[in-house]
Subunit: 321 residues, 2 copies
């Protein structure tokens, strides 16, 4: 699958030997592996092959960025049904390469196999450029909590697809999310104390930071109000659902609902970056402050609250312990 996959300057040995060799001048390498599964993360009747390539690459590239690293390379294990068209695999490869090109990364290796459904396991490698990695465990009381990138757009796109509303521009956010990769190294340079990419939903992922850091994250609902595009999509989905039940024959594990605030708080897959920064950090415009880090009361442990109050009942909500 080397055709259409140009190496970059860091690729010392590329596709075609027993293994690749990547330059890591920093003396460390960031590494992560993620699945992208047909039926769970995409449907071939909704996503083009190029969409699938973009989305598979985005998951691992965003994980690297969430450590504060510049993503540098991918290794792609692709299992596919034997009858899959050669053109589909070629377009998938083009999608992988195009998403990598957004950050200057390359596909440097991989493997192929047969399976009943399309399955990708993508390993991302990244470069910290001399900075410490930004972990989930470093948030401290008094820190700001901010987010870069869209929230709830991919979830809205899924709901629109489930409702058959394929013309809404938010559908693209589900099929081909566009993580703000360079916001990751930017946050590291600004002194971010903790960071995560929003893959499971804002509340769930901030819950990971809160528990790993042993802090309370208090979100300001006024900063999380869904914008006009999300509100419009929610009304459109609700109207469509009145006439036809949602299509949940696939991607069933993530019914996307019809409520715009739920999309913002619990929708994953946009791969926005959420980070904690020391109070007073001057953040570039693409970072929106959405809350603050507080000391948990007594021995309550880490958790996430909205306007100071626990708010249970939302899918993806991490209960305040």
């Amino acid at each position: 699958m080397s055709a259409g996959l140009p190496p970059n300057a860091r690729t010392l040995v590329g596709i075609g030997d027993d293994a690749a060799v990547l330059a890591t001048p920093d003396g460390r390498v960031v590494a992560t592996t993620d699945f992208l599964l047909e039926g769970r993360h995409f449907r071939r009747d909704w996503s083009s092959a190029a969409d699938v390539g973009h989305k598979a690459a985005a998951r691992s590239l965003a994980d690297c960025a969430a450590m504060g690293a510049v993503p540098t390379a991918l290794l792609v294990a692709l299992a596919a049904p034997p009858g899959l068209a050669v053109s589909w695999a070629r377009e998938l490869t083009e999608g992988l390469a195009a998403e990598c090109a957004r950050v200057g990364a390359s596909v440097i290796g991989g493997d192929t196999a047969q399976a009943d459904r399309v399955l990708l396991a993508v390993t991302g490698l990244g470069d910290l450029a001399g900075r410490p990695p930004v972990l989930r465990s470093g948030a401290r009381p008094g820190d700001l909590v901010a987010v870069a990138g869209p929230l709830g757009h991919a979830a809205a796109g899924l709901a629109l697809l489930q409702a058959g509303l394929t013309e809404d521009p938010l559908v693209a956010a589900q099929l081909r999310p566009a993580p703000p990769y360079d916001a990751g190294p930017e946050a590291a340079s600004l002194g971010a104390t903790a960071m995560i990419d929003v893959s499971d939903g804002l509340l769930a992922d901030l819950g990971h930071i809160a528990r790993a850091s042993g802090v309370l994250i208090d979100l300001d609902s006024a900063r999380l109000r869904p914008g006009d595009r999300l509100q419009h999509a929610a009304r459109a989905v609700a109207a469509a659902v009145l006439h036809n039940p949602l299509d949940r024959t696939s991607q069933v594990s993530r019914p996307a609902g019809t409520d715009a605030l739920t999309w913002v708080l619990t929708g994953g897959e946009d791969h926005a970056l959420a980070a904690a920064f020391p109070d007073g950090t001057r953040l570039p415009p693409r970072w929106t402050v959405i809350g603050a880090v507080r000391q948990p009361a007594g021995d309550a442990g880490g958790g996430v609250v909205l306007d100071g109050q626990p708010r249970a009942g939302l899918p993806g909500w991490d209960h305040f312990a």
Copy 2:
């Protein structure tokens, strides 16, 4: 899946964050990804969960060794049926960790998902320790060709299993191959000009070196005679097949046959290391010289011959171009 997976000194950030961070003091990292698929590479009625972990790790660790690198870390993507016992996954993890421990490597990350059959995609990372990587393309006329590790044992083990002869000690070579990992960095230190791990079969894999290097590899059949254990297994399989046809309901793509020399020449999965060395290199005892590199005649291109003669008709045989 972090339980039972101890980090090593190179693991700066292990399992549990968005990505791992691995020390790469050499300034380069070797990286490779390989599938291990139920039905194709193992059967759960033949392999224990620990066997599967060992085998999955071995594929990627051996690829790193074949570059001349010391394997340092694995990332493991595991898809499994929802009904799979928790104990099976735990024993798989123990097998992965135990195989890693043979070389001082650690499992530093991964992902899990559901699938109809067990599937692993394992990424191996390795350290070249200041040496140039040993590629497939460096073999030169006049070089020795040598191999470290067993040939044909895993193929014999598969044939024994297919014939129902589960008591033969060679069965273990199929279920849990033991690649000579440290022979890889050793070969690099000795000046190996080309190297590969024997995963597809000796003839096929030497064919990769021959074509990449544009040379002829001439094997000496006297050096490749199957030993007593292989001969004994071949007779046992042949006798059993007289009474019962081979079980080829699974792992069907690799019928292992009954001929010991065929196992040696075309059996993969032992992950022996095959390398070319400058003539006169003093090789440690575990390396067996099996042939020599020659200049191809005219514009014939690279290929492999046995005792100076092309030998077609064997599965896995790479025809002399």
